[in-house]
């Protein structure tokens, strides 16, 4: 129980989000209408992705301080789940944009930022897999991961605030790049924050499963050798 309580919390929160998210009464704002329910699925992807790649970056720093293969695997797998969350966020965003902005892709600064983030992390995997020496691979990949993270944060969390955007929180608009300031309806807030926590926990859970798989594979290889 001490080990896996957070997995139960994750399931409970997400079940709550899926039920309440589709059934609560939502405010009628402009042309959003019922698509506003996507707030519970599209928006939490980004805190989820941010959390996962931040954890990945922390493990890269730990690897540079103390080169243990385990840290490299952790960093790699957290970045991988981060990419999955990024793709899901882009897809849910594209569906939403299709109904409210008229087209799935609008060259909005935040759409571009999210797409570039995908390219950055795909390059991380290309770089990592281009080397065969395990120690060197871990170190070079960790250095790139830290560098990429430090370039990625200004791109998605600073620059979009300075340009006009269809998303809330652009230039001259209240709020941060994700949400429209304090205008989140109280009933929606009851579902939104559990959704954020639930999706983040699910991301960590998926990653922990992948890590266990990778560690077993690693062990098998060393035994055979």
């Amino acid at each position: 129980m001490r080990q896996y309580w957070w997995k139960i919390v994750s399931i409970a929160l997400l079940v709550f989000v899926f039920i309440a998210g589709f059934f609560i009464r939502v405010p009628d704002i402009g042309n959003l209408q019922q698509t506003i329910r996507n707030l519970f699925f599209h928006v939490p992807m980004w805190p989820g992705q941010f959390t996962l790649i931040s954890v990945s970056m922390v493990y890269s720093v730990l690897f540079l301080r103390k080169p243990v293969i385990r840290y490299d695997i952790y960093a790699n797998e957290f970045a991988r789940t981060g990419i999955v969350f990024g793709i899901l966020g882009l897809v849910t965003g594209a569906i939403w944009a299709n109904y409210t902005w008229g087209a799935p892709w609008n060259n909005d600064p935040k759409q571009l930022g999210a797409a570039i983030a995908l390219l950055i992390y795909l390059a991380y995997f290309v770089l990592r897999n281009s080397m065969t020496d395990i120690d060197k691979r871990g170190r070079v990949a960790a250095v790139y991961n830290i560098f990429a993270y430090c370039m990625y944060v200004p791109l998605t969390y600073v620059l979009p605030r300075m340009t006009e955007s269809l998303h809330p929180g652009g230039k001259g608009v209240e709020g941060n790049p994700g949400l429209g300031g304090g205008d989140l309806d109280p009933t929606m807030r009851i579902v939104f924050w559990p959704a954020v926590i639930g999706w983040i926990l699910l991301g960590v859970w998926i990653t922990s499963l992948r890590i266990r798989l990778r560690l077993i594979e690693e062990k098998k290889l060393t035994v055979v050798r």
């Binding site: 540079l64 570039i116 390219l119 950055i120 770089l127 170190r139 250095v143 791109l155 620059l159």
Partner: protein, 216 residues
Amino acid sequence: MSKIITLIRKDLLLEIRQQYTFYGILLYVASTIFVLYLAMGQPEEKVWNGLFWMIQLFICVNAVAKSFLQESRGRMLYFYSIAGARDFVVSKLLFNAALMLVMSIVSLLLFQLLLGNPVQNPFLFSGIVCLGGCSLSLVFTFLAAIAARAQQNAAMMAIMGFPLIVPQVLLLMRISNAAFSDVIQGGLSQIILLLVALDILVVVLATILFPFLWKD
């Protein structure tokens, strides 16, 4: 500090003794812009601006890529033992920034000569070009170090670099748009400061992370 100057002087001497690399890049700049002129003629200002920065990107990849790849493993070890990794990377950053400065100015002149001159505010734009050349070279120098370590070529640099350079390029586009109109908009100094801050971030990251990259 004296070690950094010695290392820069070494790079400069190498450049003077093996002039074919320097002229090679110059020829690359000239022929790329000439091909662009054949393809585009004299485009309007927005296209001009976009093309200019894209060409800067490609020049930067080519000019900077060789800086780490030319050093053999044994020579690397020698530099590491006499000067230390930090001095080495700082000298490379400075040298490449200077090299890119020259290339940026040459390509600006060629652009003005061949693709017309829509720039309204030439002094401002020259300043932006110098700042932009340095910003690009700093990021790509560090990526060249990573690519060299992974025993990869310039293609890997482009894969890693083009997504990572986007913040700088976006800011540069925004600033240089100001040079195409008579009126200078407000908030320009804020963007320039942001760009300089990004450059400082890159230099700090490079000096912190480089020793890990070269430790064996």
